[in-house]
Amino acid sequence: MNLRNRQLIPSFSRPPSRVLIRKVARYEEDLLGILYESLREFALPVQDKTVFLKANLVGHDPRGFINTHPAVIAAAREAFRKLGAARVLIGDGPALDRDTQAILESVRLTEFTGKLGADFCDLNIDDVERVLLETRASLLKELYLPKTVLGADYFVSMPKLKTHHWAGVTLSMKNLFGIVPGSCYGWPKNILHWAGIDRSILDINAAARPDFVIADGILGMEGNGPIQGNPKQAGVLLFGDDPVATDSTACRVMGLRPEKIDYLNRAGTMLGHLEVPKIQQLGEPIASVSTPFAVVSEFRALRETGTK
């Protein structure tokens, strides 16, 4: 994965990023077909590789709009297998509840994936490795991160499209809070809040930058996210080879201005592309799928002109 490649590259010398938007109205559609064809467009180097899918599994979700939907996770797993991956691991380190098994039962993940066994990694209790945070965007100098993530050949962030009451939005970059292990930092990982949420997001993404993003926006969350918001039907899946570009595009789909989100704005200088001209837009045009997400009052400034 890119931890060893050091993808801190200024925007002006970074090649254009690619983001693909697919309209998908329901989780009952042929997700495997959609994901397989979408991933093929990127010609991903996953043949014989170990792929790690970092889902967003936050907590109990009886109404199905808090976590990355298990149908999307299962389809991604199968799609990467069809693309030749030697092994596809799934994992997360839930931030608020250490009973990951209870969350998995609530999410009904194995109903979609089949028995996972050792192919699921509870990142909260994985063996860890010390990683120096060379970006020093936050006050943190180092983090202990899961070996399973650091050792994967190909790292995929799979967020849900959600607004967030502290960070504005939680997408593929904020999703990486879940790789910070609770067994080291607690439930919640409060040290990241004290170090600054926005800046911690930058440090973590610089240390373990996802190679690819698959964002579940079929049913997202608006308002008081990431847990207590309201369901928001956006009817899209987003795919991207650059977390910054994919999150920026997701913001635009959500009717929000990415440059107004502190961590995304900063990430655009070194971790990926924020600006539309630097992003090769594939699939559906943003305008055809854009639907405004409500935000808590502190984040009114994120809204694009003309949205409520």
Partner: protein
Amino acid sequence: MNRPVSPHLSNRAAGSPLAGVLGILADAQNSDGGWAFAKGGHSRVEPTCWALLGLAHTGFAQPGMSGGLDFLRSQQLPDGSWPTTNGMSAGGWVTSLGALTLAQFPANEKSVHAALQWLSDDYPRDSSRWQKLLKSLSARKQHAAHNDEFRGWGWTPRTSSWVEPTAFALLAFAAVSAKPAEASAGFSASGPAALPVAPELARQMSDRRPLAIGLLYDRMCSGGGWNCGNPRVYGVDGDSLILPSCWALLALGDTPDHPNRAASLAWLEKSFAAIAGPGSLAVAQITLESYNLPVPLARRPLADFSLADLAGQGTHVAAWAALALNPSRVWPARFSQSSATTRQSQT
């Protein structure tokens, strides 16, 4: 749960419902004496503590127990704290767990006292005067309604108070005054009857307890039980979770009766039948038994989980299952009958 008992265990455990779980723990011990969260991983403080507590008073062989205790003592930092993983230079919430674990075994007074001193000196930053001033000036001050006069403990030093680390610190404080039951056959350590604490440390602990107990009650969710410590955010009630609720209830077991504790016990009893994971199930059972309350029927009894299920969820889950299945456990303590009486009068 039938499984040949580990050679590290005495015959006493063989054939009992406990044997398979103890076998998981015994077989997962590393050569350095400690335990990892998963067999074959690196030894760490938290799983080692849980394994020692789970194996205590079960007939686990003395060399294995001594190796675990040696590993635990070797990980203690010079300031008395324990780090959550090897290499970290600062201690964290596992200091409470380390202290309460060592307090169950003899000849650990020095380590336990150093840990308690560290805990007594460790104040979360969110309730400092400076932070209170900043919060009073912040537009966000009303979004998570906490009473900042209370102070507990954080997961990491100089952060915020949370329910579980506060509960574990209270349990560590209680461990030095708790009186473990007499040792069962096969394990010689009966634990200290009580660890005398220097007057100044005792005073500091005494000062911290009411603040921490007050914090737990302040952070209780509407209707009983606890989550991590945010019962209400942006005007929306949070849901209670099993594990934080159980640790809080265990920490409050030796405190005077309180209607919120009774409400939380009632919430736990009501929630018990829906518990899905074996870890939460085991800890919930232990909690109710500690309050001398009947354990309701589970959706899936603990004994129905396969050993692979338990082992796959980590050493801590196997250890919690061992504690739940062990009628001779000495930790957590059983509380007086009055707690149950209060709960029944409330419901």
